[in-house]
């Protein structure tokens, strides 16, 4: 499903002394198949934007199309849309509620696929839990509250992907995880991306994470999209990002210094590619490991 936003505008608490403009004319297209990163400060409008994508926030200004769904249309089938656009909130483990892991994961199915048989439900839950790397037989009857922090997050994600959404949106999915947890989570997202899940959208503060994982990204600032493109294009504009008070990946920082010294490194800013390009440069300069 292609996502097209045009002139998207949204104000919190309109007509009150606390009114604040969260989105101010956002134009953004996310093509099917992209692994899309959304970058920006807290309060830049990025969370408000993603909550528009499955109509958790109703459109009040501008237009938004997600696949064949026109979100400006009052008759739009919002429930159906939500089953196709999955949303994992920040710290999703805080939304677990059921007595057992199995029931919690099945919650979305019960809501979206009314009338699904018990066997089908169990099969879908099993598949979702296995996708996130949990042992169905071991965890299905456990209370979600007795699991470890990392396991809880996996269960919560399973509860969203159980309906196999075509678009999966995750708000700071790796927040609070240890390095191993982060790596595993990103591996998980790549493993489902390209299958039934066509498009992944992650909101992240971690520029290195964006550089390493995303095919495309957009930078939000003050409710507007100020940059959009491939990570290599965005991080090549390091000065502008820094001017916005945002971080840049370690590789971009390094490339910036090298450029100032007259060494241009044409890289996509992933660590491996950066190392390769630096080596190529070194060999060109006459270096050899002989």
């Amino acid at each position: 499903m292609r996502i097209v936003a045009e002139g998207l505008t949204y104000t919190y608490n309109p007509k009150s002394p606390f009114a604040s403009k969260a989105l101010d004319g956002v134009d953004l297209t996310i093509e099917e198949g992209e692994f899309f990163g959304i970058i920006g400060h807290t309060g830049s409008g990025k969370s408000t934007f993603v909550q528009h994508l499955n109509a958790l926030i109703r459109l009040t200004g501008g237009s938004l199309h997600v696949g064949e769904y026109d979100l400006a249309d009052k008759k739009c089938k919002f429930l159906e849309l939500r089953s196709k656009v999955g949303m994992v909130f920040q710290y999703p483990e805080y939304q677990l509620f059921a007595e057992t892991v199995e029931k919690d994961v099945a919650f979305g199915l019960k809501n979206f696929r009314k009338g699904m048989s018990e066997e089908e439900t169990a099969a879908a839950v099993k598949e979702a839990l296995e996708t996130v790397g949990l042992d169905y037989a071991k965890v299905r009857n456990k209370s979600p509250f007795e699991l470890s922090g990392g396991q809880k997050r996996r269960v919560a994600i399973a509860g969203v992907i159980v309906t196999k959404p075509e678009v999966l949106i995750l708000d700071e999915p790796a927040a609070g995880l240890d390095p191993l947890g982060k790596r595993e989570l990103m591996e998980l997202l790549h493993s489902i991306h390209g299958g039934w899940c066509k498009t992944v959208v992650i909101v992240s503060h971690d520029m290195d994470e964006i550089a390493e994982n995303c095919t495309h990204a957009a930078v939000f600032s003050d409710g507007k999209v100020v940059m959009c493109g491939k990570p290599s294009e965005i991080f090549a504009r390091a000065d502008e990002l820094l001017a916005l008070g945002l971080d840049i990946p370690v590789t971009a920082k390094c490339a910036q210094v090298l450029k100032a010294r007259g060494y241009a490194v044409d890289t996509d800013f992933t660590c491996d590619d950066f190392a390769q390009k630096v080596l190529a440069l070194w060999e060109k300069e006459g270096g050899s490991n002989a």
Binding site: S148, G176, P179, L180, G245, G286, G287
Partner: protein, 278 residues
């Protein structure tokens, strides 16, 4: 002087002592040191922190803070006055709806006279750069600002040790930077002993010493640069190198003579040097 001393400390969250969270930790932290504690979730980092200020008491072994045994209940108050602690969630540590009232909470608890409390609030808010928010409400502040208020709340007790239990984990990069700046300044300028528990490898680089915990034990202990130079060992504890160190290692493995680097700046310098010589 030794600020903190662990002697073969064991601790378990279970009554029967099984599944120990700490399994025989011996450790000594000098006054004025800046120590980063690394390790994956469940490695015992937070337990270690809570044992220092007597929020937890060891099952066996001994924890001493400036020579005071944490298992001695009469010393609990004195130990907590000396070892302040900032927690992970910025929302769950403030008791009052106005910044200055919250900072006053600690001094009030230990019976500091009113005029003196005012001075301590001034000192603490200045130290974290939040004086202008004195009359604000925490609910309106950013995550980084809230954590700085939490640090001020601890500073107002005038502790000698500051423990930060994953206090940057829930912050955005800007918030993390704010908190790290404050912590580094406290250590450098005020000689505060800092114990920083974190998942962020780059934060550990700012410390004098890094300790790696794994399954309730201290498995690595040394200068951060030393620890990150032992990358294979780190990997067995499921920790990753800071990205700059990772790139540096890749280059070295391919035969490029780059000196060890841990930050982007160091890496850039190293690469330039190597390119010039090539």
């Amino acid at each position: 002087m030794e600020a903190v001393k662990f002697e073969n400390v064991k601790f378990s969250y279970r009554e029967d002592g099984k599944d120990p969270a700490l399994n025989g930790v011996t450790l000594c932290i000098e006054e004025g040191q800046f120590v980063a504690v690394l390790g994956m979730n469940g490695s015992g980092k937070s337990t270690l922190a809570k044992l220092i200020n007597a929020l937890l008491i060891p099952f066996s072994g001994k924890v001493e803070v400036f020579g005071m045994d944490t298992s001695d209940e009469k010393k609990t108050f004195e130990i907590r006055k000396n070892a302040g602690m900032v927690f992970q969630n910025p929302d769950n540590q403030t008791v009052a709806s106005i910044v200055e009232d919250d900072v006053a909470f600690g001094p009030e608890n230990i019976g500091v006279p009113r005029e003196e409390i005012g001075k301590r609030i001034d000192f603490a808010l200045d130290a974290v750069g939040m004086q202008e928010f004195r009359k604000s409400t925490p609910a309106r502040l950013s995550g980084g600002q809230k954590q700085r208020i939490a640090i001020a709340g601890v500073l107002a007790i005038l502790p000698k040790i500051m423990i930060l239990d994953e206090s940057t984990a829930m912050l955005d990069p800007r918030g993390r930077r704010e908190v790290m700046d404050v912590v580094r300044r406290l250590n450098r300028e005020k000689g505060m002993t800092v114990i920083l528990i974190t998942h962020f490898m780059d934060e550990a680089l700012q410390a004098d010493r890094a300790i790696v915990m794994h399954r309730g034990e201290v498995v690595m202990d040394g200068a951060p640069e030393e620890i990150f130079a032992r990358s294979d060992e780190l990997e067995t504890y499921n920790l990753t190198l800071p990205r700059a160190a990772y790139v540096c290692k890749k280059l070295q493995e391919a035969g490029m003579p780059v000196r060890n680097a841990f930050t982007a700046e160091e890496l850039a310098e190293g690469i330039c040097e190597s390119l010039r010589k090539a």
